[in-house]
Amino acid sequence: MDLDARKIERPHPSLLKYYAIISLLTGPGFLVEFPRLFFKYETLKYRFEDDGMSMSWGVLFRHEINLTYRRIQDIHLSRNIIQRWFGLATVAVQTASGSAGPEMKIEGILEPEKLRDYLYTRMRGAREVDEHPQDEALALLREIRDLLRAKGQS
């Protein structure tokens, strides 16, 4: 993988421009929408770790979402025209919870395809998991077999 997602902590500055445009498109709603999105952008933080990720935002009402890669059900990448102009996208990540909407919407990443593939290679089923190294039951069974063999040969 070319992209090291662990280095991503903040959204790209062009996300703020995108937020400005979409709040302008709401017309008079700009006065309400832009401050909200501005503070969301200012406080938005991502953290990608080896087995999970988290994002947090908010000034008055703080939000924080944590999830592990293995619990990802499906990944959605959507780009509208304005986002495509900036090279941005929304990467929506779904777990098996009961809501119809995505659990986590990652916005403002400049290489969204690479981030998506980074997440994809870490979700379950993307790679073969043949044997767990610390499988105690398997180790015990092997031990029993070897003991029996040794007994049979003596």
């Binding site: 293995r70 619990r71 119809a100 077999r145 049979g152």
Partner: protein, 240 residues
Amino acid sequence: MSRRVEEATLWMYRGIWGVLTRWFRVPSEPPSLPVGAGEQVRSFRPANGFLRYLKFKFWMALVIIDLAILAAWSALLIVFPVIGFLLAPVAFAIAVLPDVVAYVAIHLRYDTTWYVFSDRSLRIRRGIWVIHETTITFENIQNVSVNSGPLERFFGISNVTLDTAGGGQSGSKGEGSKSATNYHQGMIEGIDNVHEIRTLILNRVRHSRSAGLGDEAGSAGWSPAHVEVLREIRDELQTH
């Protein structure tokens, strides 16, 4: 004559595509999937029948709407002849312009829909204004359903819906029925080789030995390695 028209429309359509790819950043190539060594990726579009199905629906809607516009305009012409005569170009424009846009949109919708299969997962791309790409691993698929209406059956196409775990009705949040798509679903619309695709997906789902809820494949039960050692123990006991 008709050939010339065909060439001209093809040329115009290519022009539209050029504008789309350059100015609206619509990708013209199919989406890719990261794969391991020796794995194959297969990408395809909906069947030709899907395009004919969309066009048929388009012509049906066109006839109904344009008849309504014609009826309204004729009524106006009879009651106020002068205003009706003046409004003729406007009525004509209302009747024709949206049709052209809709017709082009149907072609674009068809050409921007892609289904990509690898050995482990699938990716669906759809949309022109908002390009939406869904990635689902076969391991996470809970059920596969195949649907087709009478009109779709006539054109020999079906839709395959793949559900992953997690609930939620589409549009239940009241965000408008069209924009609120169900995120726990993958729709493979308008394909004619349904049986092949269904068995392909189901075989992969059967191979997966977990519940598709994020549990590790090894810890969910006996893995083949466990069974192998258990057999060896039995054989060892039998021989002595």
